[in-house]
């Protein structure tokens, strides 16, 4: 293994705080008595609802059908009866229709032995169809099938095992416990893409994952590289730069540099959908933070309420509850929010951990500029947006912002730069 590589310029080094969960094996969570399954667990339109109140649903049965290329199928994560259809507000503030399923009947799939499918015998179209039928969605909300259906034949598949977000260890545990399955998913994705090489990037602070993955990668054409721990190392474009040396053009996508990036959790879901015919109905989620009594990595059914996950870990001792990562996640005002495909963590952070302070005027220290991995000037963009000058902000690169939050993280005046820029981007997109 060579010395850790990384992106240059910008980024921050937040405390890792991964130790409470990094060495704990993934635990199976209890099946919830009631699952609340949003029909929008992806970037695009909500899936079209296929069930009505009173319908009996089996485990893994589709309950929502994709409505467009950025939309994906949604499946019943538990067997039971559709109790209610309602509209809920997701943590990011978007509204989504959701299906409430009351647990009932027997588990048709769980615990039954499965014969693995020989995916090498399948055509590219059949593989993609399996991914669509399984409702596999990447961490950024783009369905895996859509991501892999790119034109222009990328040469490299980049496997994102960086996990640079503090607290989160679910990817790390997956790589330690399910390295073969993850690499099988990578092989499937590479086959669909026609990509010649597979590059796995893992931050150097996960020695176990690096060792296991490197061992599993022997002989399957993958290269495992250690990355310098630095947030946001997991950003797609930075991963591509660090692992392949290819520069993604400003404001462009990894595909523009001939690479496709997929997260290890997504690869596991690809493996399960293709080889085991299992739809995307459960995921591993890190439950951590000082407000959680017994932090853990749980393998839980989608639709499990956050409250149940916290309960499973000894209950909530207080603090700010966040879903997702500590840098990019969303704070919750209620604990009935369900687990979704993209939710890697449930964190309860104490005041000591968040180090919150009151806002003061900007003193122009330039820390946000130094921290921005894209070389933007967050403070200037923020001020233009504050004055309603959206066009001016866009001409200064607002479109290149990936909302990583480094600027807000370092701002001594505690200006909500990320919030300002993100809302400006939403206004710009509308």
């Amino acid at each position: 293994m060579s010395s850790p590589s990384s992106f240059c310029g910008g980024g921050v080094r937040p405390p890792e705080r991964k130790s409470p969960t990094a060495s704990l094996p993934i635990r199976k969570a209890c099946i919830p008595a009631e699952a609340l399954i949003p029909l929008r667990q992806h970037a695009g339109e909500p899936a079209r609802c296929l069930v009505r109140v009173g319908d009996a649903v089996a485990e893994g049965m589709p309950i929502g059908r994709a409505a467009g290329p950025l939309s994906a199928d949604v499946h019943a994560s538990i067997p039971g009866v559709v109790k209610e259809l309602r509209e809920i507000r997701l943590p990011d503030g978007e509204l989504s229709p959701a299906v409430v399923i009351a647990l009932e009947g027997e588990f048709a799939r769980t615990g039954r032995a499965r014969t693995p499918v020989d995916w090498r015998a399948l055509s590219r179209g059949e593989l993609l169809a399996k991914l669509e039928a399984g409702g596999v969605v990447g961490l950024d909300g783009v369905p895996a099938a859509t991501r892999l259906r790119v034109s222009g034949r990328p040469e490299v598949l980049v496997v994102n095992g960086a996990e640079s977000e503090p607290y989160l260890t679910c990817d790390e545990r997956l790589m330690v416990e399910k390295a073969a399955e993850v690499l099988s998913g990578a092989a499937i994705a590479a086959a669909i893409l026609g990509a010649g090489s597979v590059e796995v990037g893992i931050e150097a602070n996960k020695p176990d994952a690096l060792r296991v993955m490197a061992g599993a990668a022997v002989g399957c054409g993958c290269r495992v590289t250690a990355l310098r721990p630095r947030y946001p190392q997991g950003e797609e474009r930075l991963m591509v730069r660090a692992l392949t040396g290819r520069r993604v053009p400003r404001g462009g996508r990894p595909e523009d540099a001939g690479a496709v990036v997929l997260n290890v959790g997504t690869l596991l879901a690809i493996h399960e959908a293709v080889v085991l015919d299992l739809p995307h109905i459960e995921r591993v989620v890190t439950v951590a933070g000082e407000g959680v009594k017994r932090p853990a990595n749980l393998k839980a059914r989608l639709g499990t309420p956050v409250a149940a996950l916290l309960e499973e870990c000894g209950g909530l001792a207080g603090g700010r509850v966040i879903v997702g990562g500590a840098m990019r996640g969303f704070a919750l005002d209620g604990l009935d929010t369900p687990l979704t495909k993209g939710m890697a963590g449930v964190l309860a952070l104490s005041r000591r951990e968040t180090r919150a302070a009151s806002r003061t005027p900007c003193i122009g220290c330039g820390r946000c500029i130094a921290a921005c991995p894209w070389g933007l000037r967050p403070v200037e963009l923020y001020k233009w947006l504050e004055h309603g000058q959206l066009a001016e902000a866009r001409s200064r690169g607002l479109g290149e912002c990936t909302e990583c939050g480094c600027c807000s993280y370092v701002c001594p005046a505690r200006i909500p730069l990320l919030e300002g820029l993100a809302s400006g981007r939403r206004r710009g997109a509308a």
């Binding site: 921050v12 937040p14 405390p15 503090p166 053009p249 400003r250 404001g251 700010r320 509850v321 966040i322 500590a326 840098m327 990019r328 996640g329 969303f330 704070a331 919750l332 005002d333 964190l347 952070l349 005041r351 951990e353 968040t354 180090r355 919150a356 302070a357 009151s358 806002r359 003061t360 005027p361 900007c362 003193i363 122009g364 220290c365 330039g366 820390r367 500029i369 130094a370 070389g375 933007l376 000037r377 403070v379 200037e380 866009r394 001409s395 200064r396 690169g397 290149e400 939050g405 807000s408 993280y409 370092v410 001594p412 005046a413 505690r414 909500p416 990320l418 919030e419």
Partner: protein
Amino acid sequence: MTAPGPLAPAPHLHAGTTTRGLMLSVAACLLPAGTWGVLVLGPRALAVLAVAVGASLLTELLIAGLAWKSFTLADGSALLTGLLAGFTLPVSVPLFIPAVAAAFAVAVVKMTFGGLGRNWMNPALGGRLFVTFSWPALLAVGAFPGSVSGGGWVRVPPWQLDGSLLGGSGTLGAVSTLLLALGSVYLLARRIVAWEIPLTFAAGYALTVWALAGLPAGEGLFRGDVPAALGSGGFALAAFYMATDPVTSPQGRAGRLAFGAGCGLLSFLLRAYGGRPEGPFLAVALMNLFVPLLNRLGSPTAGKG
């Protein structure tokens, strides 16, 4: 507004720095040099410093309280402004001078523009300039040497008096370049101030002094006395504490490098040709004018890439 409520915006972690922390760190780093200065220069130095700090705090308290009904002393910037203003003044001045300098700094240079972060000129420097040009005779060069070693508790050896490292002129900020630099080492190591500005400031100043300072005296090129220039006249205070004021210096790296270099060149010009020992202060104030233009350096705009 951003109180840690249930719906606080991301990110939910923070590096932990606060504006007040930054201001107080800088103020604390002035302490060694200030203490030494008081020991060398005597109680008069303490009086100048106390009047400057008092006037600064009082002005900020009055304006923020009466006009905006807010309490802003807690951010520590008024304290720092008062300290810096006191450091720049010869201790021999009548005590109304530090009061006027600090009050002008806070009221005109800072609060007029809306308070902390909105001013474009370094307040302490603005105050220093106001008294320099208003009462030139009281702040003249001649006022420096007479006060040295008068009434201090510590006797500086005579060979140190002309210079620099431990005991120089009769200004708190010029008594010890060494201790000021020591304080700034901490600030630089903790990344509290930008390293780019002191670097190019010192480099630009030293190079021009070395190359050109011999010319006015007819000694030819490359004969300048660099250690004497770096070790006196408030260069250290200007380079490490004034030019690095985040509010009134550029934000990007390219802008900062250019800003420091400009400060260095102007310092030399004003010091060697203008006959002003406070050249570095004037140079920083002049460069403050160019900060908005320097901020355009290296700024990402449309059409790039």
